[in-house]
């Protein structure tokens, strides 16, 4: 009995213990399950944050990051509706069309009502978030007094809502709101995670703003550089132009002691101009404003031209210069000017950095299934480059060695610019080099360069040359706001046999163009009152002036735009005067070979007229000095043939009159006389006389006259080619 009782007691204890153990186990399981569930929630939250962080870092647009956040948050909460509102400049939240909608048709009403609304601070769910700058939760939007869209929400079956701010610093840049089909109590974990999401998205906006600011700053910098270069180049062009004028006077007056220093001024100014051009080129490439002029051209002449140009420089350091160009190299389609520029840069570098060595320029064609490649290489046996120097070589503004500038000159921009051009044409420049052994620079370009974004439009068809009196010097209207440019252009064009009128601004230019109907117009682009583009458009838009050929003369290299607006030619300052004269002469065909024959002897005049006409000269005749001056006042001839002894006004007086007039002083004069000149006569004629010919045997004399005039014109042309 006793033992049975004991057994019972023991059993009861065991049962009790078992019951306790079961409870402890259940409790453990509950704790473990709760922990696991929390762990799972944390894991999902971390995944959500991670995916949004990744999206935020990788998204190329703020919109893209927002879109990802909408989708991920809806997936995380299993809520069907998400929507982005952006704050506008007035500080009001504006609905965007960025939505996440599980069933777009079902929530259509709510979408329409939402998108038609804006939310001021404190208004509705987004307004509350805007005010408090932290997430907000509404258990049931249909019962919330501050939810203007409650009717639409009810119609679309939406109940609970929460929203969080996208914070950039302390500022709410946007609000993202979410809605569920069921009322729901606030979930602190969700709200706290959403604060993080908002922070992440805020950083995307912040980054975008910083990038925009940077881009703008970079554009401002490029614009500043472009303007600055213009400001620098304008006076520099004046310096070059006026010095060239002085140089010419010095030459004409045989003042060699003045000529040489002036020559140095011109060369220094041109060097300075080249540096400024480099900086401008680079800033234009950076600003994405550099045009390529892609055209088909034969390769061999370009390479040969580079070799010719660099020959003197190579010889200076006693270098042998070789060219390897296979006869069948053919042609390619690219920007010829830029290739020439790049090759010239490489070749002149090679010549600079090599002494008593060999420089070899070679070109070859590589045939590939995707299209041919043209490979140019410039190999030298010069000082070479270290690995570190090679690394820095193509960086903007960096030279292999800072001391290089002092020793060898240059901006250090040439290579960077050349490389950018080659890259724009779909190729590149590479270098192989051993210090002390030499360097080989290689340009690889597709034979058919990808056309530049703005392909060169065909040149506007040359308007028919306006009827001009062949005996009148063609009138050129020079429109430029720069006084010195007008002066220099007038000087050179006048010398080339044009008559010139100038206008100091776009408006005046337009007026003169209509009044004078000049044979051609040279037009500056950057002018304060009315820019060249506008003037060009106006000239081409007026039927009265549309036929006048316009030559754009400017610092701004935008040929495509010029041609597309109808310009006949486009010249970049500093202007190549003979080039301009050639262009204008082409436009006004009879220009440049006007001769004024002044002689009282009819027979002599007739003989000269016939001979000169046969050689393509336009001949004007005058019986004496007075009549000649009258002709001169109307039209400036390119050359004059003057007899000395004439009635009314003799040759001596005429020549004195010519010399005293700035516009006529430069006209080459061939004195043709039967007079036996005394020393006094010669002294009086000294200066400004091309040649004195004694009248004698007719044929011989005529041939000599023609020769002199021809040489005279030819020399003037050659001289007008700017001294490099």
């Amino acid at each position: 009995m006793e033992s049975l009782n004991d057994a019972d007691v023991q059993l009861a204890r065991l049962k009790k213990r078992l019951e306790r153990e079961q409870r402890a186990r259940a409790e453990s399981e509950a704790i473990a399950e709760k922990a696991l569930s929390e762990l799972y929630t944390r894991k999902r939250e971390i995944e959500l944050l991670q995916s949004i962080t990744v999206a935020a870092n990788e998204a190329s647009t703020v919109e893209g990051a927002m879109r990802t956040a909408l989708d991920r948050v809806c997936a995380h909460t299993r809520w069907p509706v998400g929507h982005v509102l952006l704050k506008d400049s007035a500080g009001v939240l504006i609905s965007t069309s960025l939505w996440h909608l599980d069933h777009p048709e079902r929530y259509e009403t709510f979408l329409k009502v939402s998108e038609a609304m804006t939310f001021a601070t404190g208004t509705g769910l987004p307004g509350r978030v805007l005010e408090d700058r932290r997430p907000a939760w509404i258990v049931d939007v249909t019962k919330d007094p501050n939810f203007p869209r409650s009717k639409a929400a009810q119609d679309s079956g939406l109940r609970a809502g929460f929203a969080f701010p996208v914070l950039v610093g302390e500022e709410v840049a946007a609000v993202i709101e979410f809605f569920s089909d069921e009322p729901a109590e606030p979930d602190d974990a969700v709200l706290s995670i959403m604060a993080h999401v908002g922070g992440q998205l805020g950083r995307v906006i912040e980054r975008r703003r910083a990038e925009d600011a940077l881009k703008l700053a970079s554009q401002h910098k490029s614009q500043f550089l472009a303007n600055m270069s213009h400001e620098l180049r304008t006076p520099l062009n004046a310096v070059i132009g006026i010095t060239e004028m002085l140089q010419e006077n010095a030459r004409d007056l045989d003042r060699d002691d003045e000529f040489e220093p002036l020559d140095r001024v011109v060369r220094a100014a041109r060097h300075l101009l080249a540096l400024i051009n480099d900086i401008l080129d680079l800033s234009k490439i950076e600003a994405g404003k550099m045009d390529l002029h892609v055209e088909a051209f034969a390769i061999a002449p370009v390479v040969q031209d580079v070799v010719n140009t660099v020959a003197t420089l190579a010889a200076r350091n006693e270098n042998a210069l070789g060219l390897e160009c296979p006869p069948g190299i053919g042609s390619m389609c690219a920007d010829q000017t830029r290739i020439r520029q790049a090759l010239l840069n490489l070749a002149s570098n090679a010549a600079k950095f090599t002494e008593k060595g060999t420089i070899t320029i070679s070109v070859s064609r590589t045939v590939a299934p995707t299209g041919d490649w043209i490979v140019f290489s410039v190999a030298d046996t010069g000082i070479g480059l270290t690995a570190e120097q090679k690394g820095r070589l193509f960086q903007d503004f960096v030279q292999a060695d800072a001391s290089t500038t002092r020793r060898y000159g240059g901006t250090g921009l040439g290579l960077a610019i050349s490389r950018r051009f080659c890259q724009m044409m779909g190729g590149d420049i590479t270098v192989e080099s051993e210090p002390g052994q030499g360097s080989t620079f290689t340009i690889r370009l597709p034979a058919e360069a990808t056309p530049s974004p703005a392909p060169v439009p065909a040149k506007a068809p040359q308007p028919p040359t306006r009827a001009t009196d062949p005996h009148q010097a063609p009138l050129i209207l020079v429109i430029d706001d720069d006084d010195s440019v007008r002066q220099v252009t007038t000087h050179f064009l006048a010398r080339e046999g044009f008559s010139v009128t100038t206008a100091s601004g776009g408006r005046e230019g337009l007026r003169l163009a209509r009044e004078l109907l000049p044979a051609a117009i040279t037009l500056d682009v950057m002018m304060p009152d009315l820019d060249g583009w506008t003037v060009l458009a106006a000239i081409k838009g007026d039927p009265a002036t549309a036929g006048i050929p316009v030559v754009l003369m400017t610092i701004v290299d935008e040929k495509n735009r010029g041609y597309s607006l109808g310009a006949a030619e486009y010249m970049v300052k500093p202007v190549d005067w003979s080039g301009l004269a050639g262009v204008l002469r082409g436009i006004c065909k009879s220009a440049g070979r006007d001769v004024l024959v002044v002689d009282d002897d009819d027979t002599m005049r007739a003989g000269l007229r016939r001979a000169l006409h046969e050689e393509g000269w336009q001949v004007t005749e005058a019986e004496n000095g007075r009549i000649a001056l009258a002709h001169l006042a109307e039209q400036r001839p390119d050359v004059m043939v003057v007899d000395l002894l004439m009635p009314e006004m003799d040759g001596f007086e005429l020549l004195d009159a010519l010399r005293s007039n700035g516009d006529w002083r430069d006209i080459p004069v061939l004195v043709l006389t039967a007079k036996d000149l005394t020393d006094e006569d010669r002294a009086r004629l000294n200066g400004g006389i091309e040649r004195i010919l004694q009248k004698r045997g007719r044929q011989e004399m005529l041939r000599e006259v023609l020769d002199v005039l021809e040489r005279c014109i030819e020399r003037r042309r050659r001289e007008s080619v700017a001294v490099p």
Binding site: R13, A24, E27, S28
Partner: protein, 182 residues
């Protein structure tokens, strides 16, 4: 207090005094008795159990606690041997209490309130461990330290020049290891 401590107490009482004693203690302390190692239970319940044991075993409460520590430690060493095998003697093990042992306890038993010891290691022979806790379980620490020395086969003398139970604002556990004779 974490359920695991109750589990340890139950294990050593059952082992050394039998199942009935544990049942009797639970009844005497009016304790629930269902302890999950992961759960949290009131400190008072532990104190009541200690008080009941003190009466039943006719032993001062601190001695009960010290006995509990001395006997619980081998169970812990069995369950988590890597904490012990990482060291070869008592002193370096004791110095890892805050940074290793108790930080692991917090990982296994989230919310565990473990004491933070400060050490005075100015003497290479005597280690002073400063203990401050509202639970005033310095006796448990003593038991654990003695058992640790036993685990490493070291003899030590342990006393408390300062003790919160004697009105000091902290307890100082003075641990002197007697070097085993060579």
């Amino acid at each position: 207090m974490k359920g695991v401590v109750f589990n340890l107490l139950e294990a050593v009482v059952r082992r050394d005094y039998g199942d009935d004693t544990w049942e009797a203690l639970l009844e005497a302390a009016d304790a629930d008795g269902a302890y999950s190692s992961l759960g949290n239970y009131p400190d008072e319940e532990m104190m009541k159990l200690v008080g009941a044991a003190s009466s039943a075993l006719k032993m001062p409460a601190d001695d009960v606690v010290r006995w509990f520590g001395r006997n619980a430690l081998p169970l812990l060493a069995e369950k988590h041997p890597h904490f012990f095998t990482a060291h070869k003697s008592t002193r370096p093990f004791l110095l890892t209490l805050n940074d290793v042992i108790h930080s692991e306890v917090r990982k296994l038993y989230p919310g565990a309130e473990v004491p933070v010891f400060t050490y005075d290691t100015s003497s290479s022979d005597v280690l002073l461990m400063h203990y401050r806790s509202p639970r005033k379980l310095c006796a448990l620490a003593e038991g654990f330290i003695e058992a640790t020395a036993a685990h490493y086969g070291e003899k030590l003398s342990l006393d408390q020049p300062e003790c919160m139970k004697r009105g000091d604002d902290r307890c100082v556990l003075r641990v002197s290891i007697r070097k085993p004779k060579a």
